[in-house]
């Protein structure tokens, strides 16, 4: 069991008090996580972890240093604080350093669920067994995870910032593999284990696996494409990381640099960074203890943004949106809870409107070829289908794409009417519908 929010808050305050600097900040992260992993229709890895780390940022004038430890005895904590000060002492002055943030009102959202805290190894194993059974009785093979995390973050600084919050998440994934090249995928992410339905998840993946058996070949070229929410989420991750952070914009490495207020994407695209949504997960404050503001990034295709932290807000002369990552980091502030506005079209209606195109369940191993245009390459996996005359017809072997996300999102034909929360391992998630895009560049295919 992790330490409580109050204990984390006290620990942060203690670290600030122990730091002999002009300004001091402490971030305490207490983590109690467990993950049950299965493959070949059996649990093969099953792990648990408890840890608490304290990270201290010391400021001497305009010089800063950071140190962290997970040794919480008095001597180790004091040594950590002194290391941060020692680093600050030798750092050159940063003339543009604005000082640590002042306290601001943080919206309180309850994101701890008792059902998730009680989601123990036996309960996870039973959930895994229920998922597996949906594949086993069909003669398929299931692999995936059932994970639970219960964490608390507390942030204090010498100006009186005193933020603390607990969060619980359950995340489950399942890949169901057939015997003839087919595979299907389903995932679930939420705060409350009581809302998690493992049988339904296992059924969704197994049905898709059966449907995608015996995949065929596909010629390279530009195709209309229906991206399921999991695939859209990958695109949004890269768009947010490369396009909507203040540092990338300031360094002119973002497609929005110099174009804020211009129509760069389809008018069907409205994208918001919103950690305060009732449907998302994660913290409502950033790693400086500043409130995460709801931040419009794209409004009906017109680009806004970017998100900021205290440093970049001061440097650019704009408000602090509260998106600092743990200090120091090479990325600057980043959006972590993207929300793409829903449209009015069901996935079935999207497919029905396509004469010839593709349906993509999810992507695999996506990487960046051009950060400014957000040109990505990657593969599809676990359910890629040809759409012909408004129907899903032949499953196709996984295809490689090389595609600018900016270009793709400039030609959106329809936005899905149902949104799904899709998340990485921890820290944030995207709330996104499916998209029908006019053109997606297929550049290869696996065997």
């Amino acid at each position: 069991m992790r330490i409580s929010e109050d204990q984390a808050r006290e620990l942060a305050a203690r670290a600030v008090a122990l730091t002999p600097a002009d300004e001091a900040e402490a971030v305490v992260a207490a983590n109690d996580a467990a993950l049950t992993r299965f493959a070949n229709n059996r649990i093969h890895q099953n792990v648990a972890e408890e840890d608490t780390t304290v990270s201290v940022r010391a400021v001497l004038g305009k010089r800063t240093g950071v140190a962290s430890t997970n040794r919480l005895d008095d001597a180790a904590l004091k040594a950590c604080c002194e290391s941060a000060v020692a680093a600050a002492r030798v750092a050159p002055e940063d003339a543009e350093y604005p000082g640590l943030p002042k306290p601001a009102q943080i919206e309180r959202i309850e994101r701890v669920c008792a059902s998730t805290q009680a989601f123990d190894a036996e309960a996870r194993a039973k959930a895994a067994a229920a998922i597996i059974e949906q594949s086993r009785f069909r003669g398929l093979s299931a692999a995936g995870t059932v994970a639970r995390v219960d964490y608390a973050v507390a942030i204090a600084n010498s100006h009186g910032v005193d933020a603390a919050m607990g969060v619980t998440d359950v995340k489950a994934t399942v890949l169901s593999a057939g015997t003839d090249g087919g595979s299907g995928w389903a995932s679930w992410l939420g705060c409350d284990a009581a809302q998690f339905a493992p049988e339904a998840l296992g059924d969704e993946a197994a049905m898709l696996a059966q449907r995608s058996d015996d995949p065929g070949s596909l010629e390279p070229g530009a195709y209309a494409v229906v991206l399921a929410p999991e695939a859209v989420s990958d695109v949004l991750d890269f768009l947010g990381y490369l396009g909507f952070g203040a540092q990338a914009v300031a360094e002119k490495a973002s497609f929005i640099a110099g174009h804020e207020g211009e129509l760069l994407l389809s008018e069907l695209i409205t994208l918001t960074e919103n950690a305060l949504s009732a449907e998302t997960v994660g913290l409502t404050f950033d790693f400086e203890g500043s409130p995460k503001r709801r931040t419009p990034l794209v409004e009906a295709g017109v680009v806004r943004g970017p998100v900021t932290d205290s440093y970049w807000a001061a440097k650019l002369g704009v408000p602090n949106t509260g998106h600092a990552l743990p200090a120091p980091n090479p990325y600057g502030p980043l959006p972590m809870n993207l929300e793409l506005a829903a449209g009015k079209t069901s996935v079935d209606e999207m497919i029905a409107s396509v004469e010839r195109g593709l349906y993509v369940t999810r992507f695999h191993y996506v990487n960046v070829e051009d950060p400014v245009r957000v040109t990505l390459t990657g593969m599809t996996r676990d359910g890629t289908f040809l759409i012909e005359n408004g129907r899903l017809t032949q499953p196709v072997k996984n295809i490689r794409f090389t595609q600018s996300a900016v270009d793709a999102l400039s030609d959106v034909r329809a936005v899905g009417d149902r949104r799904v929360l899709v998340g990485p391992e921890e820290g944030g998630a995207n709330l996104t519908p499916a998209l029908l895009l006019g053109s997606w560049n297929v550049t290869g295919q696996t065997r």
Binding site: D51, T69, G144, D370, R447
Partner: protein, 480 residues
């Protein structure tokens, strides 16, 4: 540390485990980064904890904690056993481990000058001078320079009787100049991209890199990229530099030959492999010029150790020999599944993660070409340097790589500079097209400290020895 391990093993046995191992790991890190003249961060960190892995009721359980009191360790050991019993709900057959000897040993990695004892001022001065050397071209608008040091001290003990103490230091450094073109950002890195070069060793390894001396050249090349020609979309001969070969080996030989992937253990996350169990000794992986060896004994490599994290001694084992697939990388459990002994490739990312099958130092063995002769022998093609992007499918067949820079090869000579060159291929066809590998004179071990695998995600520090090599009939300029 040994007392803590013993406490854990005793508690696991009392709780009913039939096998247990425990690792106490202390990791100390220091990182310094400079960006465009500004010190971006000076950070030190330490992490200490214990991970306890058990078999009970024939299934695995693992629990880890940073609380190192005897009571907390006993609680974690009991939790590991309870988790194992929960795992048994779905277990088909009891876990079997391949046999291993019992060792009581100490191993230390090489380190001539302890980097943690070098004053921060000296490290900062190096980075600031290198960064200044990068900011010598008008078109270079963003620069970065970084140093990183890691010290790992760990003790492994098992219920079979082993007690192994190991420690090593890793040092890394790199610089990058980013030139701003017309709607594009063009990076140029030294000595490698993605953080530079990483080795087992100390401050002496940093000094050898001569970051300051190389910075102006790196900046010039970045600036020149702005007016370089785009990569043609064609099928041609390519020559890859050693650092790109290292990543090519990593993605298209290393991962597909991890036995746990072949057995399906990683299916849902990183994927499986096109390599099948029955391919051992029969699959033609590449041409006769392609020999790849897994060697955890290479001095100064990120992939070296005395014993892996299951207590298996470091080994040298051919994975591909003269083009023929000859061996998997394995752990004790994976090896037992095919009736073999582990070749010592089980590694864990810290105290709070279980060992998985990971690469060690997986190297393409050198051939006998000089680099100049190889270029002179090539009528038409492209020479690629320094990776910028990588992607490969979930069975490790279809890959696509991009590099920071390339040059045309025309009539046996390097010609015009190419920006953002990329290439794609299918793994066995690509390696079958290898017709020349440069000699040991050009061979170097490249650290790869960012190899992701597993859930929860683990980041392994591995390495690859490589020299430049030539490949025929490669599709380049994909999507250009």
């Amino acid at each position: 540390m040994k007392d803590l391990v013993t406490t854990a093993l005793d508690a696991a046995a009392s709780a009913g485990s039939t096998y247990a191992d425990a690792r106490v790991v202390l990791t100390s890190e220091e990182s310094i980064s400079v960006r465009t003249g500004r010190v971006e961060g000076i950070e030190s960190s330490e992490s200490l904890g214990i991970g306890i892995r058990v078999i009970a009721d024939g299934a695995w359980g693992f629990a880890s904690t940073s609380a190192l009191t005897p009571d907390a360790i006993r609680t974690a050991a009991r939790q590991a056993v309870a988790i194992a019993r929960a795992s048994a709900i779905t277990a088909a057959a009891p876990v079997r481990l391949s046999p291993v000897g019992v060792f009581d040993d100490v191993w230390r990695g090489p380190c001539e000058i302890d980097p943690f004892k070098i004053p921060l001022e000296e490290k900062l001065a190096l980075l600031l001078a290198a960064d200044e050397g990068l900011r010598t071209q008008e078109l270079v608008t963003v620069t970065s320079a970084s140093l990183g040091f890691i010290k790992v001290e760990k003790v492994f003990g098992s219920s079979e009787g082993s007690m192994i103490e190991q420690s090593y230091v890793e040092s890394s450094a790199g610089i990058v100049a980013y030139a701003l073109g017309d709607g594009e950002v063009l990076p140029r890195s030294y000595p490698n991209s993605h953080g530079g070069q990483s080795v087992q060793g100390g401050w002496e390894a940093i000094l050898k890199l001569d970051l300051i001396g190389n910075a102006p050249r790196v900046a010039e090349e970045a600036a020149a990229l702005v007016s370089a020609i785009p990569c043609p979309a064609t099928t041609t001969t390519v020559i890859l530099d050693a650092s790109q070969i290292a990543l090519q080996v990593h993605e298209s030989v290393g991962h597909p030959t991890e036995l746990d992937r072949v057995l399906g253990d990683e299916a849902a996350f990183a994927g499986t492999s096109f390599v099948q169990l029955g391919d051992l000794g029969s699959l033609r992986y590449g041409s006769k010029h392609v020999s790849v060896v897994a060697d955890a004994t290479v001095p100064g490599s990120l992939g070296s150790f005395g014993y892996d994290d299951e207590g298996v001694p470091a080994q040298r084992d051919y994975i591909v020999h003269e083009g023929l697939f000859t061996g998997f990388q394995s752990s004790r459990e994976a090896a037992a599944a095919i009736g073999r002994a582990s070749n010592g490739c089980a590694r864990a990312d810290g105290w709070n993660r279980i060992p998985l099958v990971r690469m060690t130092t997986l190297s393409l063995e050198p051939g006998d070409w000089s680099f100049d002769d190889l270029i002179a022998d090539t009528d038409d093609g492209i020479y690629f340097e320094t990776n910028s992007s990588w992607s490969i499918d979930d069975r490790r067949l279809n890959f696509q790589f991009a590099c920071e820079i390339g040059w045309e090869i025309k009539g046996g000579k390097l010609g015009r500079m190419i920006k953002n060159p990329n290439y794609t291929g299918i793994t066995p066809k690509f390696w079958a097209g290898c017709d020349a590998v440069c000699s040991a004179e050009h061979w170097q071990v490249w650290g790869v400290p960012n190899c992701g695998k597993g859930e929860p995600m683990q980041v392994a520090h591995v390495a690859h020895g490589a020299s430049p090599a030539r490949f025929r009939d490669i599709q380049v300029g994909v999507g250009r």
